[in-house]
């Protein structure tokens, strides 16, 4: 490993002359980006004077002979102690580039008033031994105050010159992020930006460029004022603030996740509404004569049958008609109401409902996929850590206090939480693994095994129950109203009760580390939900879609859509019931009967998995019920307020640590991988292979839904000559397997390059980490030797 340090040990004698002007190190390894230009002129002697003062304090306190010969014998010294470095060594230490660069950058130079008051404070508390040196220090400090003022002016001028070189937007951002005080920032802003305006006005510029400058300036201003307005319009800003103040970052992540899902559904709803629901609603199909539709009972809303099944809500309503504004002569018989197409007048592009249905769903899924991948990569990027160390005690001390928490009891809980975490970390570091006896370990292993077997068996049983129910429903008639609700109720009941059982199991198992406990519970819950959704998918795609005649259903897609609608509603009903009974009544029970003051804790993982489950169903159901996102939006909206009030009334903040950012990343990746991917695969399978029903829907008379796009391309060619280029482009790009192959190949190559780059960067990072450690050791070594040489050469009395 090559060291790139330029100070050699043998040159240390000649360094005595250079002490006053220690050059900023020519290390090839720059820790700080901004150069410490003026360190030579202002050697930060206030730091130095503080050092000597504290040094003398230390001496008087540690006068009981600490290892004086530590500096002389290299083997004995372990760490760099500031006991008795000489003034010269301290001066060198204080003017090291790594010390001064940070100070210059951070504008941590205290104001001159603060400086003086500081000196007063320290002078009154310092020992008598530093008395004789005080007047001298005051003078030197006075001299250095002016130097510091000029240093600050230099910094401001530097910033102004940097800002002038940037565009307005970038300059504004850099100004906002600079660590100056607000008054200084305003000064800099005036200097940097008004100069630009003045100089451009002075030089008489032509009219049009002045106008364009004015326009661009106003646009920038508008943009800067619009974006914050948009972010402040954010939904639920103040309720979320209150919640985070009382319950901390963990619970906050649940509500932020809920808001994110709401926005996803809003996007889906808007896309579907604009391109699918609105055109179909404007041109309703002729209503079939059906006596079912006339009676309206409340049960219809719950089951989705009856008059709802003949609305825009479900697949069956959509027609396979292409809406035109005029007709050709040849098709006069089909649409006698439309005027005849005049080839001279411009025609409106015909709107084909089947094509719209197909492409809307596909494009909606693509958009959501891109958004999800983007947010996952962002989340992973944030979590990347350099210089990993196990424990990260320092990070816990400085970064774990949540400044948002304002309620007194929550603050107390937070400090308890942090103390527990610190104690755990400390015990982990000091004692290592708990040494358990063989017998104890065996017992624990048996316990874990039993618990896992029990949980897996329960999951298998519940999946079998759902399957059996579904099969028996198919064998009998599929259309009994109350029986329809039974399946949905059973599924929601299982989803509600079993996670509680898993939590109980995990509590009995008594895991060592709380994070392992959380991950195990999440995994079991996830397994349950995946198996249930899998069984349901098999029911819909494997049985009902294929054997639709046996069931007596005319329109299987509408039926599946109705099932999903029922599932979502039942889920919601059960959540409401659980919130009321589970949390409210449990709290009353523990208070009145058990007389304990412990309120239930909000189980974040479980609630987030519930949200993910609901979202999976919505994504799967968009194909069969285009308005399902609207139902989900209403559900999430009501859920937010319900959970919020339940939280405030019934729950208390958790004592267990919750690593919010890691968990958020984890949940978003759960949303992408099992949830979205599963839904997308199922939808693709449906579109690709399953034959649509022949009596209803936009894809009747087609073999698969996939065929609709070819028909649309043909239709486009026939009607509109100008748009035939679009159809040609579509045929040669999207339909052409060679092009898709090439595109996929290029994509894979780009991914491969990026992975290699990341690998290389990772190797460089580990090399740099090693270099940092070595530099630190070098510094230690050199300073100690410097001190030793001073003392040996008699410059300083030891």
């Amino acid at each position: 490993m090559a060291y790139s340090v330029n100070i050699c040990e043998t040159d240390s004698e000649s360094d005595f002359e250079n002490l006053g002007e220690s050059e900023p190190g020519q290390d090839s390894f720059q820790v700080v980006a901004e150069p410490a230009v003026s360190t030579q002129r202002c050697p930060q002697t206030d730091v130095f004077s503080e050092c000597t003062r504290i040094n003398t304090e230390h001496l008087t306190f540690t006068a009981s002979g600490h290892e004086r010969d530590e500096t002389l014998s290299r083997e004995q010294k372990k760490s760099l102690r500031r006991h008795h470095w000489s003034a010269a060594t301290l001066k060198v230490l204080a003017s090291m580039p790594s010390r001064t660069a940070g100070i210059n950058n951070a504008a941590v130079i205290p104001q001159h008033a603060r400086n003086l008051s500081q000196l007063d404070r320290h002078q009154t508390s310092s020992q008598d031994s530093s008395q004789p040196s005080r007047p001298m220090q005051e003078d030197s400090v006075q001299a250095n105050i002016e130097e510091e003022i000029c240093n600050e002016e230099n910094k401001k001028e530097q910033l102004v010159s940097i800002l002038r070189g940037l565009s307005v937007g970038e300059g504004m951002r850099k100004l906002q992020a600079s660590p100056l005080s607000l008054a200084d920032k305003m000064e800099v802003r005036q200097l940097a930006f008004s100069d630009v305006a003045e100089s451009s006005l002075i030089r008489s510029i032509p009219c049009y460029s002045r106008l364009s400058l004015y326009i661009s300036r106003t646009l920038h201003h508008c943009l800067f004022s619009c974006l914050p307005v948009l972010t402040s319009l954010q939904l639920w800003h103040s309720p979320i603030k209150r919640l985070s103040g009382r319950f901390g970052t963990g619970v906050l992540s649940y509500f932020l996740f809920l808001r994110t899902l709401l926005l996803f559904n809003l996007l889906l709803f808007v896309i579907n509404g604009l391109f699918l629901v609105f055109p179909q609603a404007v041109n309703p199909p002729p209503r079939p004569h059906d006596s079912n539709l006339d009676t309206f009972t409340g049960l219809e809303l719950l089951t989705g049958t009856g008059y709802l099944s003949q609305s825009v809500m479900f697949y069956g309503y959509y027609t396979n008609i292409i809406h035109k504004t005029c007709r050709n002569d040849s098709t006069a018989a089909e649409s006698p109401d439309l005027p005849v197409c005049d080839s001279k007048k411009p025609q409106v592009v015909p709107y084909s409902i089947p094509a719209a249905y197909f492409f809307t769903i596909v494009i909606a899924f693509y958009t959501i996929c891109i958004i999800l991948v983007y947010s996952i990569s962002k989340a992973f990027g944030r979590g990347f850590q350099v210089l990993k160390s196990n424990g990260n005690l320092a990070g816990k001390v400085f970064c774990s206090w949540d400044f948002k928490v304002i309620k007194k009891t929550s603050v107390r809980l937070q400090s308890e939480k942090i103390s527990t975490q610190l104690k755990e970390l400390l015990s982990e570091m000091l004692h290592g693994e708990n040494q358990k006896s063989c017998m104890q370990r065996l017992c624990r292993l048996m316990l874990h095994l039993v618990a896992w077997v029990a949980c897996l068996a329960t999951i298998f049983l519940s999946a079998m129950t759902v399957h059996y129910l579904s099969e028996s429903a198919i064998k009998q008639s599929c259309l009994e109203k109350t029986e329809l609700l039974l399946l949905a109720a059973v599924v929601s009941g299982i989803n509600l009760l079993l996670p509680g059982l898993f939590n109980l199991c995990a509590w009995v198992e008594n895991y060592d580390s709380p994070s392992v406990l959380v991950y195990v519970s999440i995994f079991r819950n996830l397994l349950l939900k995946v198996s249930i959704v899998g069984v349901l998918c098999f029911r819909w795609l494997g049985r009902i879609a294929v054997e639709r005649e046996r069931c007596g259903i005319q329109c299987w897609e509408s039926f599946v859509g109705q099932e999903l609608y029922r599932l979502l509603l039942m889920d919601f009903v059960f959540t409401v019931l659980y919130t009321f009974f589970g949390e409210f009544l449990w709290r009353l029970f523990t208070k009145q009967v058990l007389k304990r003051n412990r309120m239930p804790v909000f189980d974040i993982a479980r609630n987030v998995l519930e949200l993910i489950y609901g979202q999976t169903l919505t994504w799967f159901g968009v194909l069969f019920a285009p308005l399902l996102p609207a139902v989900q939006i209403i559900k999430l909206f009501v859920l937010f307020y319900m959970k919020k009030s339940s939280l405030v009334l019934n729950c208390q903040a958790s004592k267990k640590p919750w690593r919010a950012s890691q968990m958020t990343t984890f949940f978003i990746s759960l949303l992408c991988f099992p949830s979205f991917l599963g839904a997308a695969v199922s939808v693709t399978y449906t579109i690709w292979t399953i034959k649509p029903s022949s009596g209803c829907g936009p894809f009747r008379n087609l073999t698969t839904m996939f065929q609709s796009r070819q028909l649309w391309a043909q239709e486009l060619e026939n009607t509109h000559l100008i748009l035939s280029w679009l159809s040609w482009a579509y045929n040669s790009l999207v339909e052409n397997p060679l092009f898709l192959f090439l595109a996929a190949g290029v994509f894979l190559m780009v991914i491969y390059f990026h992975t290699q780059i990341i690998d290389g960067q990772r190797r460089i990072i580990s090399r740099l980490e090693k270099q940092i450690e070595n530099e630190g050791k070098d510094k230690q070594f050199l300073i100690t030797n410097l001190q030793a040489i001073y003392e040996r050469s008699g410059l300083v009395s030891p």
């Binding site: 603050v411 942090i418 950012s661």
Partner: protein, 187 residues
């Protein structure tokens, strides 16, 4: 653009908007909060930039800061005189840095200032001890406090001088992805 307000001139509001992470509306709201801390002291009309400072004792009584163990240090770090008396500019500056839009580097700089109790530009062992005592509120025994401080300095100190300079602190911050969300006060 809505009601005509007479607290600030338009240029002043522009300047605030450009130099902080707040919008005009938020600046006006902040002025309202600042005013209600000391209604007799703080004028409603800021167009001629009055020079008034609200003392530390009133500021740390704000609900956002009241229960925060570092409230005194936070206010002192943003005050020019180091005693915690904030003018309106410093008040806005404080909440701007603590808002969610402030970048990590800026927050790290001020976090360093806050935790540096003896204001010597290093986080030495005494600073860490004071921080820890305020965090855990006497839950840890003195031996545990000593141990935690030693281990923390060992972990984070890269240049081996048994105290943390700003470079060490900033490096440690990058290891903690939660920093941005925890070092944040909503106002």
């Amino acid at each position: 653009m809505g009601n005509k307000q007479t607290i600030f001139t338009d240029e002043q509001l522009d300047a605030y908007q450009d130099c902080t992470f707040f919008t005009r509306k938020e600046i006006l709201r902040l002025h309202g909060r600042y005013h209600e801390l000391a209604p007799h002291l703080v004028p409603m009309d800021y167009t001629n930039e009055p020079d008034c400072k609200v003392p530390l004792a009133l500021i740390v009584n704000m609900p956002e800061l009241k229960e925060n163990p570092f409230r005194n240090r936070i206010v002192e770090s943003f005050s020019e005189d180091g005693m915690g008396n904030l003018s309106f500019n410093e008040f806005v500056d404080m909440f701007s840095v603590l808002s969610e839009m402030a970048p990590r580097e800026l927050k790290a700089i001020y976090a360093f200032k806050i935790y540096d109790f003896n204001v010597d530009n290093y986080l030495c062992k005494e600073d860490l001890e004071k921080t820890l005592n305020r965090l855990t509120k006497e839950e840890l025994t003195p031996e545990e406090v000593q141990l935690v401080c030693e281990k923390a300095i060992e972990e984070a100190d890269l240049d081996g001088d048994s105290k943390l300079s700003f470079a060490d602190f900033e490096n440690m911050i990058t290891r903690a992805p939660d920093f941005l969300s925890t070092f944040h006060i909503r106002i």
